[in-house]
Subunit: 214 residues, 4 copies
């Protein structure tokens, strides 16, 4: 996926695309500006017209992820479940979003890989990640959670953050496991496994004791 943007020049887009590809491939420190330049088809010096330092490229990716990707993906995606489709069924909502957004998720995966890795090491990256993406997503999900609770579809005993994290956690590990360890394991049928994952999210893995409504 190329990076779409509004106020971004052709060159800047090419550089950002190349940077995402190379950094996602090798990690930030191991990626060299010379390789990014080569991949982008520009001179190395050109990179530094658009990004003052190498670290600014990383920030650029983050900002981009936040502005251009996260907004439609997270906010609009979640809102779609909530308002537009008027669904009351979480399962259908998740599947709908996943199907709908699969291409985007695949495209975003390299960016996410970069951001997650670097967030582990740098407080400032974490801050941007939080401000631009996490806090926004939490916000949207809290609203969603509230409505679902009101409709009697989600447990009010579990906070929105915990609930949202459970969805995210299960889906992320589902994808990571399949994408990174796919070659090593015998993969189950995609839809069948996804159904199980959603089951786990919605109803848990334990069999409730009789009379145990929690």
């Amino acid at each position: 996926m190329q990076v779409p943007d509004l106020k971004m020049s052709e060159k800047e887009k090419k550089i950002l695309d190349a940077a995402i590809a190379v950094i996602s491939e090798k990690g930030f420190s191991a990626a060299s500006t010379s390789e990014i330049a080569r991949q982008a088809g520009v001179a190395e010096g050109t990179i530094f017209r658009y990004f003052k330092t190498k670290k600014d490229i990383l920030r650029g990716i983050l900002i981009h992820l936040g502005n251009v990707i996260a907004e439609p993906l997270v906010v609009y995606g979640l809102k779609k479940i909530l308002y537009q489709d008027g669904r009351e069924d979480l399962r259908a909502g998740i599947k709908l979003v996943l199907k709908d957004r699969m291409a985007i998720i695949d495209a975003v995966f390299p960016m996410l890989r970069i951001v997650i890795t670097e967030a582990m090491y740098h407080e400032d990256i974490r801050q941007i990640l939080y401000d631009k993406i996490i806090s926004r997503a939490v916000e949207v999900f809290e609203e969603y959670h509230l409505e679902m609770v009101e409709k009697g579809l989600m447990k009010k005993e579990i906070d929105a953050v915990v609930a949202g994290r459970s969805i995210l956690a299960n889906l992320v590990l589902f994808f990571v496991y399949r994408n990174l360890f796919g070659p090593m394991i015998q993969l189950d049928d995609y839809d069948r496994e996804l159904d199980q994952v959603i089951d786990a999210i919605m109803h848990g893995i334990a069999i409730p004791a009789v009379g145990d409504k929690k």
Copy 2:
């Protein structure tokens, strides 16, 4: 936690410990052999007596994690829930392990951070990670899952891998969220939140429709 070992010289241990500390702090590429040497209190050249290249240090950490750490932590730890403590209560089991192993988890966290990061980028690291740790853990959990299913405590409709991943995913994100984004958020009470997380794992976040026993 220091690295204990059998067939490892005093020097090699010191180097490995230092490497774990430094690489966990900065990431593999950004960590320099000179800093590892300084931290280990040996000469830079000495490192290359024990590890032919810098990458071999990484392999050393992995091997070490696999051989020395993973076995007691994963296998023995999981088995402890399963057999030794003879628990039938997943909630109690999880809490027990978390309490019991907290110190170990803290100690292992730097290593895990390294391995997880590098596994994202290198197939070979992933392979080692899978062979040494994941496949072993899956194995043990499958056995556990089977018993739990037989005892009517876990759903047989959800595969062991999916169930185990759900536990892992929720707990990992719980810790990551608190540890990495702690400064940015208003943290809930630890025990209260953990209880919610376990609830989510065990019984899901959705309210089952009437008559919906899934």
Copy 3:
């Protein structure tokens, strides 16, 4: 002080002024054409319409100093002491010139700093400096010296060059010391110190032995 000129376009003047400011601040090598352009309020490319290379800017400054500044400052300034004011008193002459020309000296100081610095390293700059300024000043001072000697006010045993250099040397170090090391030292009263400097120039620092009229 702005650079006045005849056959110089508005733009060229602005560039030259900016170049003098920037180069005087950082030195020639450390000054970048981009900063000069920014300071001049023109595009970087524009500079190279007026000056083929960066070094040509330096030459431009020199030429300018020679043509436009040196003539009125040096020649006219010195002649003023000599002929116009008709002074026979060196002390009064020096003080008069200093007072009179202080603003000009301040304005010229940046240019001088550039030229002096570069003259230390480049023979060709030195040649221009000599041809345009030094030789002219020596010429004028020789004439002055001759008159003073004839009037019995200056020693004929000391050549004009040595005498002129003594004036220049003492005054330059007086200014340099105060301007560059001012913050580090406890400065004497300006006028009192200047009087001492002129005393030193005129009558030396030693007490003449009895009967020693030299």
Copy 4:
């Protein structure tokens, strides 16, 4: 002249010598570490084992000038006039020191050129220059001046700083003029000119009015 030193390795000396040569030739900014390395016969990386940054090379030169050169040259040289030789004759003292130290002065000239140039642009260099050299020289000269005044050989009306500066200024310009502009001018006989310079320093360039003892 090679840089002599006590606690300096062979390599460090070679690098410092090369740095002095190259920087004195081209100026600090225009001198590249690669050329210094080539001239020193070491790898470029080696330079940075001894000097953390390029600027530290400059500081190294300064420190060196201060410790190794200035001490014997300035302090010991001045003291020689003062105490050892027991001279009461400033002229003889100056000539003695100049003769004696000529080789050193020639050797020190490149270093001085560097230091003077950079001191014009950098406050921190100025500070080191002041602390290490100027303040020491002023100190020694003040003592000398005091004794000369007591002996009736120097004027008490002219402060030590002004007097010292006059000596320095005249001698420096004498050397600079000859060394830098030598090719362009018809040089006077060295000894004859030096005598005139000393005359100017000691007794000034003006003919004292009758009864004017100042």
